[in-house]
């Protein structure tokens, strides 16, 4: 970073415990990841009402609605990020619109309650199917 002259513009803040306060202090959340299982940090940024800019990869594509709750950009392309981030930084109204839509989307689809309920339902469904298969095998 020093070699590129960015040393004074970038702060490496290390591990954060108070995620909501930390994310809440941002103007925009950018996530240039190449692979994610889910990308929970995307959900965390959206639930505090932040517009997000992220790479267009499978799990993030299911979280972010491009142009509505944030923007999805080409993987590995700094230019793509730049072309999206700079206009958004100059447009607080658009950031607020995306942030509000993102928060609503998370509240509807990505709550811990919904995640745990659907996971439990899936486990129960698997167990039911196993019981049915066992019963069928015993009567065959």
């Amino acid at each position: 970073m020093k070699a590129s002259g960015l040393g004074k513009k970038i702060r490496m803040v290390g591990f954060q415990n108070d995620i909501a306060s930390f994310l809440g202090a941002l103007d925009l959340f950018a996530f240039a990841t190449k692979s994610e299982g889910l990308g929970q940090v995307a959900v965390e940024a959206m639930v505090v009402g932040k517009a997000v800019v992220m790479t267009n990869i499978a799990p993030l594509r299911g979280i972010v609605v491009d142009g509505e709750t944030g923007r999805l950009v080409d993987i590995g392309s700094a230019d793509s990020f730049t072309h999206v981030i700079i206009p958004l930084l100059k447009d607080p109204t658009e950031r607020a619109r995306m942030g509000a839509l993102g928060r609503a989307r998370v509240k509807e689809f990505f709550t811990a309650e919904r995640m745990s309920q659907e996971t439990l339902s899936l486990y129960e469904d698997v167990l039911r199917r196993r019981s049915t298969l066992r019963a069928s095998a015993m009567t065959a």
């Binding site: 591990f15 299982g37 929970q40 995640m115 745990s116 439990l120 486990y123 167990l127």
Partner: protein
Amino acid sequence: MKVLHLITTLSGGGAELHLLTLCHRLKKQGAEIVVACMSEYGKHARTLRGDFENEGIWLGQEDSYGRFSE
């Protein structure tokens, strides 16, 4: 219902925090939960071992022989 969750590490990343939330809620629904990890530490700064233990969740870790134990 008895559930074994297998996860790579217990470091404080998104997947691990996601699992912690899931285990907390499944336990409240009456499920018996065991979490096994391949190693405690990953690329993140801290381990969530204490958080899982505070939830009363049994933790197992893989040893060099591929066996899981507390």
